[in-house]
């Protein structure tokens, strides 16, 4: 059982909405998603994809949980500008997708954030029951592109 360091706890710390475009986001990934020294697109999922903020904690916190469930996993990093943030992405000539990082602190993971996706300004999420708005022809391209720019910071343990 791992211990969560006190500085990783949210406690009374504030949510910080501003993201610098150069800030790194850390995404943990399963060893199955290790591909030729990089990370495969299957590691990236929408909507509300979790990632830890580099400005608010260690890269190792992305795989640190009390139950050690992710100790063999890897961690890949990408920059906020690579989501991309604040750019309208046209799909099929008339659908506009946009992305935005959101700081969503968890009680035992202060740096936790999510990549939110919008279709024509409508937030797509499980709670909104509108994940059907995520067209695979769009998200598969987006995830493949993200896998191409992401850098592996922590390699997974391979058996």
């Amino acid at each position: 059982m791992a211990e969560i360091p006190p500085e990783m706890m949210t406690l009374q710390k504030p949510t910080i909405p501003h993201f610098n475009v150069e800030e790194l986001l850390y995404r943990r990934f399963h060893p199955d998603h290790w591909e030729d020294g990089g990370v495969a697109p299957e590691a990236f999922g929408l909507p509300n994809m979790s990632a830890n903020r580099s400005t608010l904690g260690s890269v190792h916190w992305a795989i640190l949980t009390e139950d050690d469930a992710f100790v063999t996993w890897g961690v890949a990093a990408f920059r906020v500008k690579e989501i991309p943030h604040g750019v309208e992405m046209m799909h099929l000539g008339h659908i506009i997708f946009t992305f935005r990082p959101e700081h969503v602190p968890l009680r035992k993971n202060y740096p936790h954030s999510e990549v939110w996706v919008y279709r024509d300004q409508v937030h797509i999420s499980h709670s909104n029951k509108n994940t059907h708005l995520l067209d695979p022809e769009f998200h598969l391209r987006w995830r493949e592109r993200l896998s191409q720019v992401a850098k592996v910071i922590i390699q997974p343990s391979l058996e």
Binding site: H30, E42, R141, E144, Q148
Partner: protein, 143 residues
Amino acid sequence: MSGKKTADVPVGTTTPSNDHLPATAPWGRWLAKLQALSQLAPKWNGDDSPPPVDIAVRNASVFLTALRDADLEPTRLAASAMGGIAVTRKVGNHKALVECYNDGRVYFLFSDRASGAMDVKPLALDREALLTFIASMQEFLNG
């Protein structure tokens, strides 16, 4: 390669079985992997990603069977954070990925990592469409 969901395609069993893939090396390894993926628990990646459901496992099994019949092994088989199963075959910088989603849809990606070029389309899993797809996949991977 229509955009039709594959849930109504008669493909046999609802779980990976020896009807689709023999439990002999090397294909037995992929069958065992597919069975392991079908047992993933909710929150398997710590997020809201659902584990693969029966239709995704069944469709992945159908595609793996088509690969086996063409004597083309995948290079990776993995759960997808989108919910479903991904089958990848990669040759150098050229990658073909087939993603079988939990809603029954199946899409393929051809990606050239050298040029950045990509092609994404829906994939039907009837025999004729699979034969056509595998021929185009081979052409892309070896091109």
